[in-house]
Amino acid sequence: MNEMYNVSTSPHMLCNRSTKTIMRDVVIGLLPATFFGIYNFGIRALVIILACVASAVLSEYLFQKGMHKKITVGDYSAIITGLLLALNLPVSLPIWMAVLGSVFAIIVVKQLFGGLGQNFMNPALGARCFLVISFAGRMTSFAVEKTGSIINGRMAVDGVSGATPLTALKAGESVDVMKMFIGTTGGTIGETSALAILIGGLYLVIRKVISPKIPCIYIGTVAVFTAIYSACSQNGFDFNFVLAHICGGGLMLGAVFMATDYVTCPITPMGKVVFALLLGIFTSIFRLFGGSAEGVSYAIIFCNLLVPLIEKVTIPTAFGKGGNNNGSR
């Protein structure tokens, strides 16, 4: 026995895809919405995005360094968290608040619970809700359009702010659905353009990073729910109302990029369906009957908390363990 070879259990071949390539694809998928946000809201949007991404990566690095853990900032996951958070913030938010949110997302929501794969809710959404609760006013004042004069932050903060399409809708005003689809409306940096988000989502579906199951069921449920609500309202069924709810607010961004977050959605096939249905129902309830015009982020983090329960009741029947085709007599 002069020569020894490597020994391990089977299988001895693995596919090319790694966590890193998946995460990189998600970043690429987020780019259309990111670029549109910068186009729509100006250079300050870029500043917020960079601040969030940089602070997310840095805080993950410092935490892991301080805790003598393996440094994993190279896996793109902190970049995604920072980017997603930025896309969920109004452009007028003070930079330090954005940074605080980023640090909260990484340290509190992600790392304190065990790091990648262990967080019980979507870090970016957790941070967003933390900011909304802490700085309600700042988080709900939205710049409506880009003006040439908004170059530095202070101008934007004090500059144009106004209602998002959903707020207008809630107040009973009419909205331009086409504008909402393209995205030249008010809102957080990354949520306004349904088109840009769909392009990114399509990329992820083609790359097989996400399955269209959750987004389709989620958005479909909201559509059905708002359609019923609309039909029961005094003015009768209004198709525009349904479309506005689909394109408006954080629904698209949430459905494509946050409800599909691997870590915080159920792993069982049936669980994904249940999860998406619940998301649609809760989002609609929060939006139509709640105090705020928006309901996506609360619906998602609430359902994130239900995931262990959903998984528990949706463990699939193993092959050959039941059903009509069972060979046993």
């Binding site: 026995m1 020569e3 020894m4 070879y5 490597n6 020994v7 391990s8 259990t9 089977s10 299988p11 001895h12 071949m13 693995l14 596919c15 090319n16 895809r17 790694s18 966590t19 390539t21 998946i22 994993t72 896996d75 996951s77 790091g115 990648l116 794969g117 262990q118 691997y262 870590v263 792993i267 069982t268 096939p269 998984e311 463990i315 699939p316 029947t317 193993a318 092959f319 050959g320 363990k321 059903g323 085709n325 069972n326 060979g327 046993s328 007599r329």
Partner: protein, 441 residues
Amino acid sequence: MGLGTFKRGIHPADDGKDISKDYPIKKIKTGGEYVFPMSQHIGAPAQPIVNVGDYVKVGQKIGESTGFISAVVVSSVSGKVKAIEDRMTVSGNKVKSIVIDNDEEYNAVDGFGQDRDYTKLSNEEIRNIVKEAGIVGMGGAGFPTHVKLTPKNEDEITHIIINGAECEPYLTSDYRIMLEEPERIIGGIKVVLQMFPKAEAIIGIEVNKQDAIEKLQAMVENEERISVMPLKVKYPQGAERQLVYATTHKEINSTMLPADAGCIVNNIDTIVAVYMAVCKTTPLIRRIITVTGDAINNPCNIEARTGMKYMDLINEAGGFKCKPEKVVSGGPMMGMALFTLDIPVVKTSSAILSMTKDEVALNEPTACIRCGRCVDACPSKLIPQKMYQYSNNIDDESFEHINGMECYECGCCTYVCPAKLRLTQAFKLTRRRIMDNRRKK
């Protein structure tokens, strides 16, 4: 096109079959010592019935089966018994083995190789011939074939399924048999069909072996009870439970035998072995082995005798181009890594795959991101992600609760895992532990 298939599973990017698929089966003879482990099948090990110093002939029984689920061992060479001692086998364990010095005369026992008319034989006689020939499932598990041919519900057997899927990447031995010895395959099927008058036979072949499909299809054109079913190219199409589903749409689980669904499943090489034993009075002493991989000089398909050394097969294939990092007995998905080549060919050997790169060693495991790819890949409809957690926590109860024992370690989850977690490894450990504990009770 309605190809037979199952749900989930994987499509390995590189099936590696091109390396060796066009090389006809090469018969080789090697001298030196031949090693016959007494346990090369599932069930009770065989008992040596020769003594050191005895002269044995080709086809002579040297190990007697010691129970119903057990198999005899037959010598593939003639010569003197050199030793009866523990020798290293594929699994890395030392197993009691009979070592025979090949005198290269190949003196055979009386009647060896004679034609026999199977139509004059009763089921009992056929079973006995199969048993005495030491035939076991050559797809990998090594389940004694005479046991398979003795189902409790003999009248309810409706399907004889011949496994020509060869879904493991790199393996081409069954493919070569289908191309070169199709009449033996059909002959073996006819023997089994005679035993089960109500059954029809289906030969399942993945469509990446189109010429094999056409060849066999042409041969069964006038056979009423035999048909060829093209199968989708997908791993693990040739796993017993998946193949039964693909051909008959019946599901069986770990506690059932194919016979419970009215099926008897046999691998291509096994059915040829049945033909040889019954019609040609030749017990199981050969095995077609694919010697392949990027570290081999001349990849090929070899007709080896059982007991041959793996190293001799490598030498027949022109030796190594460069030192391989990993050598696997079997395919890359379920094969066993070898640390030495000083082990004998056994009934269940199917390939020697030598790789210059060990992908497993190159990929460090990272954190699970719960992406669910393992769930989408698992042919047994399990949740490998949770099974892995329970395995790591040594929580056997939960592992069993989520049907972890239904896992048959096909490796799909590990193949697709982007975090490169050693899922199958953890499951193997846990499953062994649970089975041991069950036995203790």
